[in-house]
Subunit: 320 residues, 2 copies
Amino acid sequence: MQEVVQRLLAGDQRTLSRLISLVERGEAEAAQVLQALDAHTGRAYTVGITGPPGAGKSTIVDRLTALLRRQGASVGILAADPTSPFSGGALLGDRVRMQRHYLDSQVFIRSVATRGQTGGLPRTVKTLARLLDAAGKDVVLVETVGVGQTELGVLEVADSVLLVLVPESGDAIQTLKAGVMEIADIYAVNKADRPGADQLVSAITATLQLSPNTRGWTPPVVKTEAHRGEGLAELWEQVEAHRRFQTAASLLSQRRQQRRVKEFMEMVEEELGRRWKEQIQREPGMENVLQQVARGDLEPYSAALDMLKTSPLLAGRSEF
Amino acid sequence: MQEVVQRLLAGDQRTLSRLISLVERGEAEAAQVLQALDAHTGRAYTVGITGPPGAGKSTIVDRLTALLRRQGASVGILAADPTSPFSGGALLGDRVRMQRHYLDSQVFIRSVATRGQTGGLPRTVKTLARLLDAAGKDVVLVETVGVGQTELGVLEVADSVLLVLVPESGDAIQTLKAGVMEIADIYAVNKADRPGADQLVSAITATLQLSPNTRGWTPPVVKTEAHRGEGLAELWEQVEAHRRFQTAASLLSQRRQQRRVKEFMEMVEEELGRRWKEQIQREPGMENVLQQVARGDLEPYSAALDMLKTSPLLAGRSEF
């Protein structure tokens, strides 16, 4: 194991790939490796990137990566794809445009899926971001596919959260609905050459002025045209400004401590959930109860509460 | 309680409101009422409506409601808003356009939020849909705000799932990423007067032809201009056609049985999670472990596994 740790600390991409798979599969060995690596984390800056489909998140990630590489920084990219409930597995299809970075040993790209475990994705992304950190990446970019609840969970404890909108992606109020504006530290209005860009900037600014500013930081709004490379330097400058602000206000270490505690709690919940699910299969009479619920002989809500009351496995004699 | 049940079966809206709050708060009384009502369910047809922000889902729900009312059907509407991780509570802001239905006693509208419980929203919506069913609603429309993982969980077991897209909402491949195409039974291409509508219809049709048709049903694609009321009648005809198809193939009862089983399982998990979270607060030494994790003295992943191994409360002697 010590050899694996050394190779990872030296930034070996194949070792990193293998360790990520270990973490994703929840292998016992992962715990030891993570423990050995922990003292070597805390250097990478983690930026979450979210926004509606079609806003150009992948292009922004691609262009920011190119910019960071020119500055000499190494980059880790995690694309968080909540798995479809039917097909399973992360879709790498449209990541072709990232291809030009694939041959760059200072860029590491990985899609992360959940295989149907609700709540597992936010925890997994936190753990993998720490791995990339230990492997020496200067910046970790976490891109989400959608803007749902799981995605917010993925992002809420990134060092900075970047929300990408486009003139067509609906007015600010539609976005506010998903609660995402409350976690955004920086806004990008992408495809800013299209009609409505200035109105969107005004709408965001107005909405931000209405909301209580409890964080002492007013999120800047940056216009970008990512496909042409416009505005990316200014966007990254704002990320750096947010970093400086948080460091000066001692908010960065606070945010990172919260992230660690959250990862711990989510891991405990996840493991307990996994063990229950195994246990519930062995629950005596379970098959029979499920049939009665399906047929309509038992009502689902009360049958669930009854099972928790009477089950020998679940009601107090469980052995996790 | 018998009186409450009678009033609900008679369709009393205030009783319905109160029971919904009971279910949302997880009160013990809810189980008894749901049990008494269960024999009176199975009549309502449940349609899930999803799509990206700005696609016009709310307008489609509004127009379908008007259409159904003209046909003499009563309608229940559940708007599933995954709660923001910061603010809490469902936002009713833009539901003003539904106002014209508020005075109609045959229409019942409710926003449903989760208060941060991961996975709770899909279960809650299933339970509330049964309540609306028992209260005599002919059709239950479930509208989701976003298109993330939670939203797919909300919809996967509706009787029919309607996916609303607009020419601007990104190409079919962007949508496929979120896995939502696999659960859609009917497509609406809304704002069909805008450029790109026909191309979107072609892209959807082509994508559907590529994917394996395991359900024996090829999802129809309907062009709508909901704000002008165009295409809504055809859209609803397709929902009816899907209903007839499922009934003929005995798929509807199968889908509903799956929904009941899923609600039961989700309720068991939810309750176990809730009880466990209470318990972990009382865990001896917990505060100390959290501080060590935050400070970096303990590594989050392995510390979580260690706690599950050694905790007197969690490792075998738990009393749920």
